[in-house]
Symmetry: C2
Subunit: 175 residues, 2 copies
């Protein structure tokens, strides 16, 4: 599988159950979210814009995706909603890995480029290094309608959180 196929498989609407294990204080927190993933073409202005922000030639991008989420977490009453544009830029020599541009970081509000790697088992691993944080997320399909994500977050050199999401495609009767 290449990164474009991975994005295509991800396109659609998903119901996501999330659990975060806070490692230091041994507590877990759960959340739920509706997620929408839409494919964007290479000539979409937001794709071109994002490439330009990172000084990357937009011709290197086949396109990307817009991810929109709307959910809640257990420990706060705040609404967790937002959207982010993701544009993968495959490495020229090894296209199974590359940069992943995003306009909003997952763990910090500033945009940050991560690295993706698609393994021989068709799972995608995303690695993002922030100034004081490191996150590693593995995303894989148990079936076309069940997507799983496991991530770990490191802060100041130690692991602080492990999270897991199970995402069911909406509108299907069988996962």
């Amino acid at each position: 599988m290449d990164v474009k196929e991975f994005f295509q498989l991800s396109a659609g609407k998903w119901f996501s159950q999330r659990t975060s294990h806070h490692l230091a204080f041994k507590q877990s927190e759960s959340g739920k979210s509706d997620i929408k993933i839409e494919m964007l073409a290479g000539d979409d202005p937001v794709v071109i814009d994002l490439c330009q922000q990172y000084d990357i030639d937009p011709k290197l991008a086949w396109g990307g995706a817009r991810v929109t989420w709307d959910g809640t977490m257990e420990w706060d009453s705040e609404k967790h909603e937002g959207s982010s544009v993701l544009v993968p830029i495959p490495d020229l020599d090894t296209p199974q890995s590359g940069k992943l541009l995003r306009d909003v970081g997952y763990a910090e509000k500033a945009g940050v480029a991560g690295r993706y790697i698609i393994g021989s088992d068709d799972a995608m691993t995303l690695i993002t290094e922030y100034e004081t944080m490191y996150s590693e997320e593995r995303i894989w399909f148990a079936s076309p309608n069940l997507r799983l994500r496991a991530s770990i977050l490191k802060r100041f050199g130690g692991f602080s959180m492990a999270s897991f999401c199970s995402e069911i495609r909406m509108g299907v009767t069988k996962t």
Copy 2:
């Protein structure tokens, strides 16, 4: 990494946080457990016994592990405790995969042999097929002191549960 090294890395005492996402009714359940993993030598009587139960020549086993757990789950007041002996029998031609004998199945009480595969990313995948169930578990180390497990359970042809465990080695100050 081979299966013996994987077992050796797993040996010790762990604090495990578990979350199960029940997919059909979109609810999650959390639990906590103390887990102890002890290595067993190839000439240990329980290893020899287990091989014989499966009609396997005990000479094919380098040993195994005894896993003991003691925990609680959110939705019942029952104590979840027990122990299981695991003995891997590497395939002769491809030792990165093989049979995994156990005296107690994870999801059913009867003993059942599964398959293990150690990937190029050093994660171990365990596949167990029961009469009416199929389980697939991926176990990997984020660090020597942080072990993660993600599993899915299929019943009657559809996925019914996705579970995640984060396991911290006890007695260390840094994960």
